[in-house]
């Protein structure tokens, strides 16, 4: 057992990162460092209105007080050297790519980058029911399928563009779910966010396309601080998917995004993430620090928000996509797969806050640890005093590959209403030699056997993704788990 397991561990550990190249484009960027001038510069560069600059500056000042008090989040089960916020470049953009109307104007190098990532924008635009927004370092490069969406009154653009074209909507909702004072990284993001996606679905419209954003960090020493805002008006429906990757760099890079979702009466938002940021090398050098605040508000009655995530990348992942169940009869869901190998650390989970009556939430978390990976599920289910008949179901499963990895489950339950029903189940299993041999006896290699078993373990979550992305997720897990011929 141990020799075979050790081999599997080594294969995993030696698995190299496939998206690690850089793209050669001319970049416009600011010098590293964080100060009020940088904040003003970013805002001016984007031609923002006064109210937005003021908001950024308030966030900046708040962030600086937190930084002075050294109030970095310390409770997560991750460890890393302190981040030097003055060494980060807060804006980097491919030159001359600020706002484009057709693919012909996009730098061909950038298009090739997305193609390498398996996201042919042209294809996406022409064929599928997918509209793509691509964020390259700090700015949005391209939003495809704009015309189709416009027919339905759907707005899908970069946040920068929305600030110009739909200032009232942005002003009404920006920071309404994640205020800048929410936490350390939310404050930083509000001060320096450079771009991100904006979606508005008008009342009664089922968005006909899957909306999708790909994030790519390219420039050196740059951080990525995008901000995404999605609003589904009454009776509207949207399905949204984000994917992420970054080149291999020796130094750690910071990704501190904020995502806000708002669902009004009878609206539904499905938000899915496939995160494959560079995880660092086998010794833990380099890699992305993925410190993200994602929260949805079920503001209206009978509204639904679901988060589905497949997290395979990043040196450190620290994220808790959450739902505030404010509307009566609203539903929040969280489906998660987190894979850690090498020296990766993930502390991820969710927070379901039941406020309205007859609200329900469901949490399915699947953690996979290999090598010296460390995986923590941290979840809070909170039922406020007036939330009559709240229902929660939580299931946390961990799969261990090898004996040097770790899995931890930290559920918090705060039920302040006695009618609440809160249920928690947890399990920890290992990939067994029996299972691997059974697969081999039917003709599969050890590697194939392992990925079959892992795919089975995550099935319940992956099947929630739109078909083409569930295939992508399976492939990503497979790539991450396959050895270099063992």
């Amino acid at each position: 057992m141990t020799t075979a397991t050790n081999r599997a561990v080594r294969e995993l550990a030696e698995q190299s990162y496939q998206y690690g190249w850089t793209t050669d484009v001319e970049e416009e960027s600011v010098p590293p460092g964080l100060n009020e001038d940088i904040v003003r510069w970013i805002s001016a560069r984007k031609g923002e209105p006064e109210w937005l600059l003021e908001w950024r500056l308030r966030a900046f000042r708040h962030f600086m007080t937190l930084l002075d008090d050294a109030r970095l989040p310390a409770w997560a089960n991750v460890s890393h050297p302190p981040v030097d916020f003055q060494a980060i470049r807060y804006y980097a953009a491919p030159k001359a790519a600020a706002e484009l109307s057709s693919l012909d104007e996009v730098d061909s190098e950038i298009l090739r980058t997305y193609e390498k990532l398996g996201i042919p924008l042209e294809e996406q635009k022409r064929l599928s029911g997918v509209a793509v927004d691509a964020i390259f370092d700090s700015v949005s490069v391209m939003t495809t399928a704009k015309e189709t969406l416009a027919k339905y009154g759907v707005i899908f653009s970069s946040v920068s563009a929305a600030v110009q074209e739909h200032p009232d909507l942005v002003r009404k909702y920006l920071g309404s779910v994640v205020p800048y004072s929410d936490n350390f990284y939310a404050a930083l993001n509000a001060a320096v966010f450079s771009d991100g996606s904006f979606v508005y679905i008008p009342p009664g419209v089922r968005c006909p396309l899957e909306l999708s954003t790909y994030f790519r960090i390219n420039a050196q020493e740059s951080g990525q601080f995008e901000r995404t805002l999605i609003i589904a008006d009454k009776g509207a429906y949207a399905s949204y998917l984000e994917g992420c990757s970054a080149p291999m760099r020796d130094e750690n890079q910071l990704h501190a995004a904020v995502v806000e979702l708002v669902a009004l009466d009878d609206a539904e938002i499905k938000y899915a993430t496939i995160q494959n940021w560079y995880p660092g090398d086998e010794n833990g050098k380099g890699g992305i620090y993925n410190f993200v605040t994602k929260r949805g508000k079920c503001a209206g009655a009978r509204s639904r928000i679901s988060w589905t995530q497949v997290e395979t990348g990043s040196a450190i992942t620290w994220k808790y996509p959450s739902v505030i169940l404010q509307g009566d009869g609203s539903t929040g869901e969280f489906y998660s797969v987190a894979l850690t190998k090498g020296r990766q650390q993930a502390d991820t989970g969710t927070k379901m806050t039941h406020i309205g009556k007859n609200t329900s939430s469901r949490i399915i978390s699947k953690g996979i640890s290999a090598g010296r990976g460390n995986n923590t599920y941290r979840g809070l289910v909170k039922v406020l005093p007036n939330a009559e008949n709240a229902v929660n179901y939580t299931q946390c499963d961990s799969l261990l590959i090898g004996d040097q990895c770790g899995a931890h489950t930290v559920p918090y339950i705060e039920a302040q209403n006695r009618s609440a029903s809160v249920e928690h189940e947890a399990s920890t299993t290992r990939v067994s030699e029996d299972q691997i041999f059974y697969c081999q006896q039917r003709g599969l290699t050890r590697e194939a056997a392992q990925s079959v078993i892992v795919n089975g373990f995550v099935r319940e979550v992956v099947k929630r993704l739109p078909l083409e992305f569930s295939v992508e997720a399976d492939r990503l897990l497979e790539v991450n788990l396959e050895g270099t011929v063992g």
Partner: protein, 250 residues
């Protein structure tokens, strides 16, 4: 087809097989009987290449080729199939997809075209029908929550789909009701021909009525203690192993 000579194998440092000899030709059916713990499953695992079953001596040739030098999946692809005494559960993995993966890997290794999901679905449904297996089972997770009998039927189904030449059936008759036993045994018999061979590990004489053995061996304490024809199985059934070996002077 299979030549085993002086095979020795250890599990966790304990020698279980102490020199097994076995010669199986095409078209033959060999029944292997023996008391609990005598090493029958160990022999099956050693031949199939299960990690942890370390061969310490002897040889095993499959069509003249050194079987023991091959990784388990290569042995499977070359046509060696093991029906497990205790089939393994794999949660979340659909039975038909699991089997299609193994099936296509086997085809690929022979340079044959893979079957797409639709073609394979047709194939597997046909096989399920001939084994009277509930088609709903092949859409469920591999062996998960299957009854004992359903698991054995599922092993037979996999064998039918993979069409191996050497079939090692480790107690495929245990835990089956009378009808299931007949159906599975007849199914195996139907898939037998001049090019296939069967090693049938069993405790009961009953299955031999359907799968006429050409040879019967009694394995005791890691060695083949006696070999013979069909009559040896009857003797085992009547007299038990203690008196059997006492009578043989072993």
């Amino acid at each position: 087809m299979l030549e085993v000579r002086g095979l020795r194998a250890e599990v966790n440092g304990v020698e279980i097989l102490k020199g097994v000899d076995l010669s199986v030709g095409a078209g033959e059916t060999h029944a292997i009987m023996g008391p609990n713990g005598s090493g029958k499953s160990t022999l099956a695992f050693a031949l199939a290449g299960r990690p942890g079953y370390e061969v310490t001596g002897g040889e095993a040739l499959f069509d003249g080729e050194d079987l023991l030098a091959l990784p388990p999946e290569e042995r499977a692809r070359k046509g060696l199939f093991l029906s497990f005494q205790h089939p393994v559960e794999i949660p979340g993995v659909r039975m038909d997809r699991f089997l299609r993966a193994g099936y296509n890997e086997t085809r690929k290794s022979k340079g044959e075209a893979e079957l797409d999901p639709l073609q394979f679905d047709r194939l597997i449904r046909g096989k399920a029908k001939s084994f009277r297996m509930d088609p709903a089972l092949i859409k469920r997770s591999v062996n998960e929550g299957f009854s004992g009998g359903e698991k054995k039927r599922n092993e037979a189904l996999q064998m039918a789909a993979l069409e191996p030449r050497l079939r090692i059936l480790d107690e495929i008759d245990s835990g089956l009701d009378v009808d299931a036993l007949r159906e599975i045994a007849e199914g195996v018999a139907e898939m037998s021909g001049p090019d296939t061979a069967t090693i049938l590990v069993t405790h009961y004489e009953r299955i031999l009525a359907y799968l006429e053995p050409t040879h019967v061996h009694v394995l005791m304490d890691g060695r083949v203690a006696r070999s013979g024809g069909r009559e040896l199985a009857r003797e085992v059934e009547e007299r038990g192993y203690d008196r059997l070996t006492a009578g043989a002077g072993v």
